[in-house]
């Protein structure tokens, strides 16, 4: 099982939610996971209903069975200062650089550098050991940039190679790439059963594969419950409307006569069934497209009550049940 789990997905698919649920799911039986955020959106804090996360590893949740989830929002500027401190013992000079805008410049404008710093920090957490030689975190889960940018983001070596041909950044990029391309890492993509997210997943996977980055699983999020089966859907097409009206009436919903309360429900209910059928067919098509990719496929239900902390634990349990950890 890879120790660095990267979670990407098209915008709106809920990748932060899935990353958080995965971190919870992996933190079973006394295990410790670190959930990292790299885009400065504070999505993790919102999800766990806590105040904004600082650039500091902080415990945010306890998993069933005593495991712990820590969270870290990686700030590229602070990561660079960290890094300068580590290699050059810059101290106060680092702050002066920040004042001048040099740090901002380096992390924003120098393409790739920012990404090396972000992925570098995550890789550092993966490799970090305590005094007894045990890994500090059993797993690191990264809430990564969206599918459209994930390969670029992870493929820091290529990005930096053209710019920093030598020097510590170059070495850092090399070290990061060794972790990212190894079996230590798995990149998961979150999708929805809709055309665009599925297409983007398919494209994203071929890009990741072309860059030799290890693709992990596909997690389909917000799957709606199957309410009508094939037989029901067949029946709706030439449904005996009077029979449905009678059935509604028998269920206690008013008169089945023409114009009766139950009778007036038939049309709108069948319209909803038609919409359901259309979506059902579309979802089946999209599911097949994802299955054709030949990767482990998981499905998480759409939470009826919207997403809250309890829902997050529910999703984590579901991931565990599906053998993801």
């Amino acid at each position: 099982m890879s120790r660095l789990q990267v979670v990407s997905g098209k915008g709106g698919t809920g990748k932060t939610t899935v990353a958080a649920a995965l971190a919870l799911a992996l933190a079973t039986e006394g295990k410790r996971t670190l959930l990292v955020e790299v885009e400065g959106r504070q999505g993790i804090a919102q999800l766990f209903e806590t105040e904004a996360l600082p650039y500091e590893e902080r415990k945010i949740a306890v998993a069933p069975g005593g495991g712990e989830v820590f969270a870290l929002a990686i700030d590229p500027e602070l990561a660079l200062l960290d890094y300068l401190q580590m290699f050059y013992k810059l101290g106060g000079a680092g702050r002066a650089l920040k004042k001048l805008g040099a740090i901002d410049f380096a992390t924003t404008i120098a393409p790739g550098l920012r990404d090396v710093l972000l992925t570098g920090k995550a890789c550092e957490a993966v490799r970090r050991k305590d005094k007894t030689g045990r890994f500090v975190y059993d797993y690191v889960v990264m809430d990564a940039p969206p599918t459209g940018r994930i390969t670029r983001f992870l493929n820091v070596n290529d990005e930096v190679a053209g710019l920093a041909k030598i020097g510590p950044i170059h070495n850092q990029a090399q070290a990061v790439m060794r972790v990212l391309k190894s079996r230590e890492t798995a990149v998961h993509l979150v999708a929805l059963l809709e055309e665009m997210p599925v297409q983007e997943t398919v494209d994203g996977i071929s890009e990741l594969r072309a860059a030799k980055l290890p693709v992990g699983r596909i997690i389909v999020n917000m799957v709606r419950p199957a309410i009508l089966d094939e037989a029901d859907l067949d029946l709706t097409r030439d449904a005996p409307r009077t029979a449905i009206a009678k059935s509604l009436s028998a269920a206690g919903l008013g008169g089945a006569r023409r114009g009766g309360v139950a009778e007036r429900l038939v049309e709108p209910l069948l319209t909803q069934a038609e919409e359901y059928a259309e979506r059902y067919a579309l979802e089946r098509e999209q599911r097949a497209a994802l299955q054709a990719l030949g990767l482990p496929l998981h499905e998480l239900p759409l939470l009826a009550e919207g997403l809250d902390l309890a829902g997050l634990y529910e999703l984590a349990t579901e991931l565990r049940r599906q053998g993801i950890s």
């Binding site: 098209k10 915008g11 709106g12 698919t13 885009e39 400065g40 050059y88 810059l90 000079a93 002066a96 805008g101 040099a102 410049f105 924003t108 404008i109 393409p111 790739g112 550098l113 920012r114 969206p146 670029r152 053209g162 710019l163 920093a164 041909k165 030598i166 020097g167 510590p168 170059h170 809709e194 055309e195 665009m196 297409q199 709606r224 309410i227 009508l228 037989a231 029901d232 067949d234 029946l235 449904a239 005996p240 029979a243 449905i244 059935s247 509604l248 028998a250 269920a251 206690g252 919903l253 429900l265 049309e267 209910l269 909803q272 069934a273 359901y276 259309e278 579309l282 009550e305 997403l307």
Partner: protein, 434 residues
Amino acid sequence: MSLDPVRLLDVDPLLDDPKTRIVVCCGAGGVGKTTTAAALGLRAAERGRKVVVLTIDPARRLAQSMGIDALDNTPRRVKGVDDSANGELHAMMLDMKRTFDEIVEAHADPERAAAILNNPFYQSLSAGFAGTQEYMAMEKLGQLRARDEWDLIVVDTPPSRSALDFLDAPKRLGSFLDGRLIRLLTAPAKLGGRAGMKFLNVGMSMMTGTLGKLLGGQLLKDVQTFVSAMDTTFGGFRTRADATYKLLQAPGTAFLVVAAPERDALREAAYFVERLAAEDMPLAGLVLNRVHSSGAAQLSAERALAAAENLAEARIVDQEGGKAGLRNSPDTYGSSESPDSAVPEAPAPDAGSPAADRIDAEGAGTARTVDHLTAGLLRLHAERMRLLFREQRTRDRFTSLHPEVAVAEVAALPGDVHDLAGLRDIGDRLAAGA
């Protein structure tokens, strides 16, 4: 169900008004910005305006249907548009690298342009900088506006990390490339002679030294060459960024914040509304996509579920009179305790299948099947009502926070949109949502 009358956004007057020259669609990723932009463009064109839609990252089939799947950075006339009102629809997909290259080519002599285009720093910047796409979208908007060939430009914004990027990136990129730091980096000699700049100069040499160490020296040299080459060829990025920014504030520009009735999307929308106000950007309203409704809203989720249960109970009673356990429940299948009964039952699920029952329209079998269907319809309705309620609650939270924002709701479609007919339908729904 809403508590207070929500201000309604009527898109048609906005699209028809000859004074409206730019419509910017912004919002979080995955809420249907591109589709909304395309639908608005098509609607405006079919209502008689000459429109160009600038899209960033359309779904492949949508792009194909509009004839802009070839990424050539030039507006193409869209075929199949109803031109009875003398309107036209043009569309283009943004190629950010190409746009950047074009700026360089347009403003530098060929030799210098080649030097810039081949500079490694430029190559990374034009393809990779987090704000380049945003910047280029705004640049392209400026170009299209300057050509003055269209009555109306509809812009889709990039799927940014956060909605703010699209406002910040042009400024950020502009101020970086044209700002003090770059000048320090690129022109240390000029500053050396001035006593007052001594401190800065020390700071600067330390900085270039550190950056050089970090990035390996060559990068810094590339940056310096790049910036000085750029600087002499055209009047500075900041000027351009400022011009684009002013264009967005100008009367004639209308922002539409696009969202879906979900917590995160509306939170982002609220954030955007506040930000636009702070920047004096003219907000026309909120487009709320994928809103669900029901023709049977008088039937609550609770009553629907209770009724569905009534039907299920009735069926169990029915089944006990002879066909007990015939429904293929997983319990029956998985049970190893009674292999005798489980095995023969498996291939005989016909008892409840419509194929068998339809033959006898009035028979007891049909009644059971119809009950099963009806129970399903009721559960489906309960799910719909819950969704409706959740959406309404989320929307109400937004409108109570921002009662000043006009809202247009777009009824959800069961499938995806990938042709003009679909876009037209969205446009109709958009106009009807007011």
